[in-house]
């Protein structure tokens, strides 16, 4: 019986078994950002420890940075304090920092791949739950909390429980106007928000194989929204073509590819579970509730309470009440107040291209506030080189600097009151986008653009064909 990529990587990175039964796992790449790291550095100081492998540790700023006025000091004192903290910490502990004035700055999960730091077969950790994004390269990438950030800084290791592997096979192909975001929202809708607890998700099948690396990142990014801490795609030529030539790509590329190929799951690998999904069943998918699993196809009616098991009905009712939607209604035609394109889920160049196709020659509807926030400065520069910013600005979108922005609203980009936001981000939790009563509809960037120009939730297929 063969092994999965997850098990191969696990075995090769195992330092030892801990008395607790957990594995001490070596971490090949540690990505650090300003929000979850200051306390970890302080813990190091308190214990008199150094960073064990600063050469495997890279820092940037993304969560709190403004995307409009980026001059220092920042207008927000608290954000400025966090900037000063990461500057001091990375300087004292000798870690490279891609700061706000550096062309390599951006959302941590966008820049790791761009710089060629993210590579197949590697273990990766970052104090952010969307670290699973890096699994698109066949890396085993964990989101961790601050005490674990401390652990990786001090030892380049994590104490982890062994994971099971669920293979999610998406067969067939996607029709026009259906994107990677629709695929992952559909998967989470099928398997639930905690279906993945204890599992790593291996995404496979013809739909995944046909995806670009950026699309695979969108899929892997939201693994955690399905409860799976880790999600990955086996590396292939698409992966290698992306990495080749990037700043941190291996010099001896052929030997690297040899090892990367050897790390892919064996054809006869043993899986703890296999789920098959037909790509033809996936339509433009939009969330209607307060968890990422509460979604429907754009032409479907919202579920009835009776469609759910007793135990789930309380949460479903809570979602209807919070969102002010009714069972049986359709989302198409629902007025939106805000349109947000960006985030580690959908803030890359291909996302902006798809959204721009919809925005081109159209205008953002009256009363809609629309913003495009590139995932990194490199994405922004590349988009500007092909004129995407002009398309967006002519349509009436704000064209911003790189950062997490309204995905989690730690900077000044926030919803107000009960505003309803069409968003290409990853979480529709209550209050997630900065207003305690604000409402989020998750969808693909093209669908967000469609909502922006229509002034209401709309089927993008009517606008791109």
């Amino acid at each position: 019986m063969g092994k999965t990529l997850l098990h191969k990587a696990w075995d090769q990175h195992t330092v030892r078994q801990l008395p607790s039964g957990q594995t001490q796992l070596f971490i090949g790449l540690h990505l650090v950002h300003e929000v979850t790291s200051p306390q970890a550095f302080q813990m190091l100081r308190e214990r008199g420890l150094k960073v064990r492998m600063p050469e495997r540790t890279f820092a940037t700023v993304d969560h709190i940075v403004p995307t409009d006025l980026t001059e220092r000091p920042f207008i927000d004192d608290l954000a400025e304090q966090m900037m000063v903290a990461i500057e001091q910490n990375t300087s004292e502990f000798e870690i490279p920092l891609y700061n706000i004035d550096d062309k390599r700055q951006g959302v941590v999960h966008v820049i790791g791949p761009e710089l060629g730091l993210t590579q197949p077969g590697m273990t990766i950790a970052c104090g952010d739950s969307h670290t699973s994004t890096h699994g698109a390269f066949g890396a085993v990438a964990f989101g961790i909390g601050t005490s674990q950030v401390r652990d990786v800084l001090a030892t380049q290791c994590l104490a982890m429980d062994q994971l099971k592997v669920r293979r999610i096979v998406v067969n067939g192909s996607l029709s026009e106007g259906i994107y990677a975001k629709d695929v992952i929202l559909h998967i989470i809708g099928q398997l639930g928000v905690n279906g993945g607890v204890g599992y790593g998700y291996e995404y496979a099948g013809s739909v995944i194989e046909a995806m670009s690396i950026e699309e695979r990142m969108t899929v892997c990014n939201m693994s955690i929204e399905g409860g799976a801490r880790v999600g990955y795609v086996n590396p292939d030529q698409t992966t290698y073509d992306y990495i080749k030539g990037r700043p941190h790509a291996p010099k001896d590329f052929d030997r690297a590819v040899e090892w990367w190929n050897s790390m892919a799951s064996d054809a006869d690998a043993d899986y703890d579970d296999v789920v098959e999904i037909n790509g033809a069943d996936i339509g433009p998918t939009v969330t209607w509730g307060i968890t990422p699993a509460q979604s429907v196809g754009i032409d479907q009616a919202l579920p009835e309470l009776g469609d759910y098991a007793d135990a789930e009905r309380v949460v479903v009712q809570e979602a209807f009440d919070y969102m002010d939607f009714k069972p049986g209604q359709k989302l198409a035609g629902t007025k939106v107040d805000v349109a947000f394109i960006g985030s580690c889920t959908n803030g890359r160049l291909s996302d902006l291209r798809e959204a721009a196709k919809v925005a081109r020659g159209r205008k953002v509807a009256a009363g809609v506030r629309a913003l495009v926030v590139p995932g990194s400065q490199e994405v922004k520069a590349a988009a500007e080189a092909e004129g995407l910013h002009e398309i967006f600005e002519e349509a009436g979108f704000e064209w911003r600097g790189a950062g997490c922005s309204m995905c989690l609203a730690m900077n000044s980009d926030k919803l107000q009151g009960r505003e309803l936001c069409a968003s290409s981000s990853n979480r529709n939790f209550k209050g997630r986008q900065g207003s305690p009563t604000g409402r989020t509809l998750l969808m693909s960037p093209a669908m967000v653009a469609a909502a922006a120009v229509s002034g209401e939730v709309a089927d993008v297929r009517g606008l791109v064909n």
């Binding site: 039964g21 929000v35 674990q148 955690i224 135990a311 209550k430």
Partner: protein, 201 residues
Amino acid sequence: MENSSVIANVTGSAVVVRGGDIDTDRIIPARYLRTVTFENLGEHVFEDDRAQGDHPFDEERYQGASILLANANFGCGSSREHAPQALTRWGINAFVGESFAEIFYGNCIAMGLPCLRVSAEDMQTLMAAVELDPAQELVVDLEARKVRYAGGAVAADIADGPREQFIKGNWDSLGQLLDAGDQIGETAAGLPYTNGFAVAG
């Protein structure tokens, strides 16, 4: 280097937080993550939920509680350790739930906060009992894998590893990881990517 204490059981009154899929954005809204310490997070725990009124954390009868009773998938979403840090600063020292999200659970263990699972049926019993008599003392007994309350006891699940770490007082992951010493460097050296793929792995 050890920074642990023995946690064989947690005794105290409980607070009932009903609802599935309670995410870490709700436990501590992102705007309070603009801080370089965890110190003042307790004041803002569940702030936006509490602003809507009728939150258990504001009920007089639950003040002083040290055990949080939760339904399914508690702590889902963001990896922010600020969530358990905020809860423990409010006074919570242990969690009993139907299930926990994985990163939240890991954060709790790293902080010395036991999370025990009970069946949905037993959770209904526990919640009802505490709502009826909030002053009663609960015992989260890691050794016996039980939660005892005035009306009896229910079975509570905790994995062998964390249970033993809590009972022996060696739940501090950093101390254990540091103990590996040279083995860390040896494992690293065996990985082809650490030496530019110069030698086969």
